[in-house]
């Protein structure tokens, strides 16, 4: 009887042209080239790689297809999720055509254009290739979705998740406040896994074995994302997997 393995998603945040370390999406430190990061994460055997070009929507720039084209040569057999700047189903198709295996649509897109446009994309590329990103802030034990482009908060109770279930395969929940911190992910976020039927991915300040265990023990959680800490040590990804080996697929150390 084998347990269904969960995924450990490597997250790369891209600001303008460079990959950065991010703290609460407010403070950034430069890391370097996204392509070389992708190549390295692929060699480390990352389950999936998520590229977040998080400044594109705010700057009204559309998806970063040039970057995607470069990265495609470096991903060497690893599934790639692209996010950032998606405006319509044409953008979604362009992203898939240029090498991404799945795409993630930001909340600002969803909030403005609602279910219809999201459905259009889902019909074109398939529900399995579509993820919705919901950055969450907790205020007085209530959950709010943060739209960083228009800078507003929406009570999560206003979202019709039954509708969304037909359109997206997973939802990425980011703990906005603790993103980039050393292990301060707010476990109250796990209540969302009870409210929302759609499989969830959690991200934002997740670094310790204890937190990962708590998060992945929940039936409705399919994956966790880690970001900054992947850049601090050699084999950081494998160390993470080893720490929580019952949840993740076996580690790999590539031989020549």
């Amino acid at each position: 009887m084998s347990i269904i393995k969960k995924r450990l998603i490597s997250v790369i945040n891209v600001l303008e042209k460079i990959a950065v370390q991010s703290r609460s999406f407010n403070d950034y430190l430069p890391i370097g080239s996204s392509e070389i990061l992708v190549e390295n994460l692929s060699r480390w055997g990352s389950d999936e790689i998520l590229i977040q070009c998080f400044d594109r929507s705010k700057k009204k720039l559309g998806p970063n297809i040039n970057l995607l084209k470069k990265i495609t040569n470096f991903k060497k057999g690893t599934p790639l999720i692209y996010s950032g700047g998606i405006r319509n189903s044409f953008d979604a198709l362009e992203i898939i055509k240029n090498g991404a295996d799945r795409i993630m649509v930001g909340y600002s897109f969803f909030q403005k254009l609602n279910y219809d446009n999201l459905t259009k994309i889902s019909n074109k590329i398939g529900k399995q290739s579509l993820i919705l990103s919901l950055p969450i802030k907790i205020n007085k034990n209530n959950f709010y979705i943060y739209n960083y482009v228009d800078r507003n908060l929406t009570d999560i109770k206003k979202i019709n998740f039954d509708n969304l279930d037909k359109i997206v395969s997973e939802i990425l929940i980011t703990d906005m406040y603790n993103e980039g911190s050393y292990d301060r992910f707010d476990t109250r976020m796990l209540k969302l896994a009870n409210i929302i039927k759609i499989p969830l991915i959690f991200f934002g300040g997740i670094t310790s074995q204890h937190k990962v265990k708590k998060i992945l023990s929940h039936k409705n959680v399919s994956a966790v994302g880690i970001g900054n800490s992947l850049n601090f040590k050699e084999h950081a990804y494998q160390s993470f997997v080893l720490q929580n080996r019952n949840f993740f697929r076996k580690t790999s150390y590539a031989k020549k």
């Binding site: 084998s2 269904i4 393995k5 969960k6 995924r7 692929s42 055997g45 389950d47 495609t72 040569n73 991903k75 060497k76 057999g77 690893t78 599934p79 790639l80 198709l93 898939i96 055509k97 240029n98 090498g99 991404a100 295996d101 799945r102 019909n123 074109k124 590329i125 398939g126 529900k127 399995q128 290739s129 395969s169 997973e170 499989p199 399919s222 994956a223 697929r249 076996k250 790999s252 590539a254």
Partner: protein, 202 residues
């Protein structure tokens, strides 16, 4: 070896092209021209998008007739994910109840939940034994139901046995994405191509 990846709409061809170019070093082109389909040594039907969308594209460009002819004549063919689904007869994904290419008897059913992630293969066929319990990347909302004799490997999801590798003579169907399965993907894909070349029918 000349490989043609069939171009039928909204698919991610680049991953597959890079995969073949970087790791397998075969000649590969993406095309929907009859001569490329007929003259290739191996035909690949890739998969992103929807069942209806794919079949409609094939019919529009009249490729479905070409495929029917050359595949039934024995052209080595590998269908990946959606590319595998269209080889069958029916799919629950099609609301208009459009028929698939019907090369293999069986149908496509909807999964309760999208299956995304790395799953262990249970190998039924001895020739693929080294891949027993190896992980491959799956990303699909539908699964196949077909005859046991056509199933070379399956995965277990929520008590259900889902076919992962299907074979009928010169046609192989893969539910997972070998181009996204890192080292295992490369090894398995090469092995399958070798088997198709040698015409191993088990």
């Amino acid at each position: 070896m000349n490989i043609t990846i069939l171009n039928y709409g909204s698919a991610n061809y680049i991953s597959l092209v890079n995969f073949i170019n970087n790791f397998l070093k075969f000649n590969v082109k993406v095309s929907n021209k009859t001569k490329d389909i007929v003259n290739c040594d191996l035909l690949i039907l890739p998969g992103v998008g929807t069942f209806e969308g794919a079949i409609e594209q094939l019919k529009k460009k009249k490729i479905d007739k070409v495929l029917k002819k050359i595949i039934l004549e024995g052209k080595p063919t590998i269908g990946i994910c959606l590319g595998m689904q269209i080889l069958f007869e029916f799919s629950e994904e099609s609301k208009k109840n459009i028929k698939g290419l019907s090369f293999i008897k069986g149908k496509t059913k909807k999964l309760d939940q999208t299956n995304v992630g790395w799953r262990k293969l249970v190998i039924e066929n001895k020739s693929l034994d080294i891949f027993n319990n190896s992980y491959f990347y799956f990303n699909h909302s539908y699964h196949q139901i077909c005859k046991k004799k056509n199933i070379l490997a399956y995965i277990k999801i929520n008590g259900l046995n889902i076919p992962a590798i299907i074979k009928k003579k010169n046609i192989i169907g893969l539910q997972f994405h070998p181009e996204n399965s890192q080292a295992n993907g490369i090894l398995l894909f090469s092995l399958l191509i070798e088997q198709l070349k040698k015409n191993e029918y088990n």
